[in-house]
């Protein structure tokens, strides 16, 4: 019987069984951020242990970094992160350095996440880099200490699932729309216990950055990690990043990618096929990412639901200040956030800029763009995207996680409705009482212009411009 892509990478990194039956998996690269670094490094020294592979460890400040020009300079987490990095002599990326960015974004930008390799990051969105065929695991702080001390993770091997995405995405439908559609269909726990492989014609046709968005959202339907088999597009994507990625790595990639696929007779514990031809631009109406609808669709009526779903449905509607059966279109918004490890790459900013160009942000809307990395920011500026955003009334920020998790204090005001390109619409996540609607960069940009929830396509056609 053949092996899956996941098994190939897993087996190549298997070190040994531990006495409790867990498998020690070697971690090729390890990216730590400011939310966990202070606790983890302090715990390490408390245990009188040291960083086993400084050369494979990189520390970034992303979660608590102020992204405003004159924002609060240094958070407590940032200060202690700097101190522990100096004490432990590990590489550290300062929040205003040209290499700065969100962990999962600089991991691919700087060639730290590579096909066939393993990566760990103390963050549930670590599997973003699965888009390149890099097997990544998120972890907690104690697990992080374990990786620092051993350069391995002690894991129970997950089951495997393949999602075949068939058909063809329609013009104007992005990877984010597809992710929201998929989570809506499968529910927030469908991937629990699984390593997921995304496959099929839709994935094959999808650009690399879209694949990263798709992989990023895997945890939102419960998946432990995910992969996409590298192909010609993957290679050309790396080639375009050539300044950061050496010739040796490119050679390695060409060789490696020939082996990185699931064999035809490989067996998965679960397989799902989803036709994507009819997927529409999506937006969430509720308080978890499965509570989403097409932009033109009404929210379901509660009496169509099971008793358990019914309660959750009504609670979510209550928090969001919405009614069963209503359409979201025309609902006023006060804030728009374009950013996060889900949707702050160059292609996302271009997609938003296309909608924004020559238009003005509606009165009463605070709209801002937070590029995923300093490099993306510089590239966008070289293309003049910053000017498009600034002229239309958007704020243009430095890179960081910002309002995705609000851990840097960049949050909305109570009751505000925020259209956000991030990954979680949980109650109070973007500030106490803030009502988050997850959407694609195009939809978010269109909502900023219209001042209410709108379909980007109809806005561009001039049908809904206020």
């Amino acid at each position: 019987m053949g092996t899956t892509l996941f098994e190939k990478i897993w087996n190549a990194h298997f070190v040994e069984f531990r006495e409790d039956g867990r498998e020690l998996l070697y971690i090729d690269r390890h990216i730590v951020h400011d939310l966990h670094a202070p606790h983890a490094f302090k715990e390490l020294s408390k245990q009188q242990r040291h960083v086993r592979r400084k050369d494979l460890t990189l520390v970034v400040q992303d979660h608590t970094v102020s992204t405003r020009e004159n924002g609060e300079a240094i958070s407590g987490n940032m200060r202690v992160t700097q101190e522990v990095c100096a004490e432990n002599q590990v590489s550290f990326v300062d929040h205003r350095s040209p290499e700065h960015g969100i962990s999962h974004i600089i991991a691919v930008e700087q060639g730290l996440a590579l096909p066939g390799k393993t990566l760990a990051c103390p963050d549930s969105h670590a599997s973003t880099v699965g888009a390149l065929g890099c097997l990544a695991f998120g972890c907690g702080t104690t697990e992080l200490v374990h990786i620092l001390a051993t350069q391995t993770m002690a894991l129970v091997k997950p089951k495997q699932m393949r999602i075949n995405l068939t058909g063809q995405l329609q013009l104007g439908v992005s990877a984010k729309d597809l992710s929201l559609h998929l989570i809506r269909k499968l529910g927030v726990t469908a991937g629990r216990g699984y390593a997921v492989e995304y496959a099929g014609p839709v994935v094959r046709d999808m650009e690399l950055e879209g694949r990263m968005t798709l992989c990023n959202m895997t945890i939102e339907w419960g998946g432990r990690t995910c992969l996409i088999a590298p192909d010609a597009q993957t290679l050309s994507w790396y080639q375009k990043q050539s300044k950061e990625i050496s010739h040796e790595i490119l050679q390695f990639l060409v060789e490696k990618s020939k082996e990185l696929y699931s064999d035809l007779d490989a067996k998965f514990d679960a397989e799902i096929t989803l036709d994507c031809t009819d997927v529409q631009p999506h937006i969430t109406w509720g308080t978890d990412p499965s509570q989403a609808v097409g932009v033109h669709e009404p929210i379901a009526l509660s009496h169509d639901l099971s008793p358990e779903q019914h309660t959750r449905h009504l609670q979510a509607l209550h928090y969001m200040g919405l009614q069963p059966g209503q359409s979201l279109r025309g609902t006023p918004v006060q804030r728009v956030f374009i950013g996060s490890c889900t949707n702050a790459r160059l292609s996302d900013l271009r997609e938003a800029a296309r909608v924004v160009r020559g238009r003005t942000v509606a009165k009463n809307v605070v709209a801002f763009v937070v590029p995923g990395s300093a490099k993306i920011k510089a590239q966008a500026e070289a293309e003049g995207l910053d000017q498009i955003f600034l002229k239309s009334g958007f704020e243009w920020h430095f890179s960081g996680c910002s309002m995705c998790a609000g851990a840097n204090g960049e949050v909305g005001a109570p009751g505000e409705r925020c259209v956000s390109t991030s990954n979680r619409n949980f109650e109070n996540r973007q500030g106490r009482g803030v009502r988050t609607h997850l959407a694609s960069p195009a939809t978010a940009a269109a909502c900023a212009i219209a001042g209410h929830i709108v379909d980007a396509a109809t806005l561009i056609k001039g049908e809904e411009y206020p």
Partner: protein
């Protein structure tokens, strides 16, 4: 790690599904290294926007103030992998969480902190939740990891399943890193064999 052998006390009924870690510990408690995590535990449910105490919320009721057991719905602890969620729960005094299903990252983080995560079948979970709601904290529940039993409230008795090795780790309060480092020679061997490949992954 503090061993977990047996814990007895009030069980807090919280029959909510999909409680995520942003709710369990809001992000404002993450950016302050000296934050009071016990205060942060489910802070937005416990405190009104004006800062006043929401006396109706279960954690604010006097009989649950030092309760060691939390009984939750499905998919508790979903979302962000932040371990602060478990620390906050622990700081509040909770040593055991019982749910229908718990989120994967959350289970891992519990096990690494000496908190016992228990997952029950639908019917068992339903019955326990019902009895815990009725008991309202006035009848004790005993969680016995040696015998894998939940005793109470009243004469209710449930057996629970837990992986043998996870059970041992908790009972003995074992240090995982020491356990892994027993395999140090294997880690070094792996590095020797794969060193060339590793070197090729350095970009600088």
């Amino acid at each position: 790690m503090t061993p977990f052998i047996q814990v007895q006390g009030a069980a807090i009924p919280m029959p909510m599904d999909d409680v995520n870690t942003d709710q369990i510990i809001p992000s404002k408690y993450l950016k302050d290294l000296d934050a009071d995590l016990a205060e942060g535990f489910l802070a937005f449910q416990r405190k009104k926007p004006d800062g006043g105490v929401n006396a109706n919320f279960v954690l604010e009721r006097p009989q649950f103030k030092s309760a060691p057991i939390l009984v939750v719905g499905t998919n508790f602890g979903c979302g962000s992998s932040r371990e602060h969620a478990v620390w906050a729960m622990q700081a509040f005094g909770i040593r055991c969480v019982i749910g229908h299903q718990l989120a994967e990252f959350f289970i891992e983080n519990c096990l690494k902190n000496g908190v016992l995560p228990i997952e029950l079948e639908t019917n068992q979970h339903h019955l326990l939740m019902q009895k815990v709601v009725q008991a309202d904290g006035y009848l004790p529940v005993c969680i016995d990891l040696l015998n894998c039993e939940i005793r109470g409230p009243g004469d209710l008795l449930h057996h629970f399943e837990i992986d043998t090795q996870q059970r041992r780790m908790l009972l003995e309060g074992l240090d995982e890193i020491s356990m892994s480092l027993k395999k140090l020679h294997a880690i070094e061997r792996w590095e020797d064999v794969n060193q060339a490949q590793l070197r090729s992954s350095f970009h600088k």
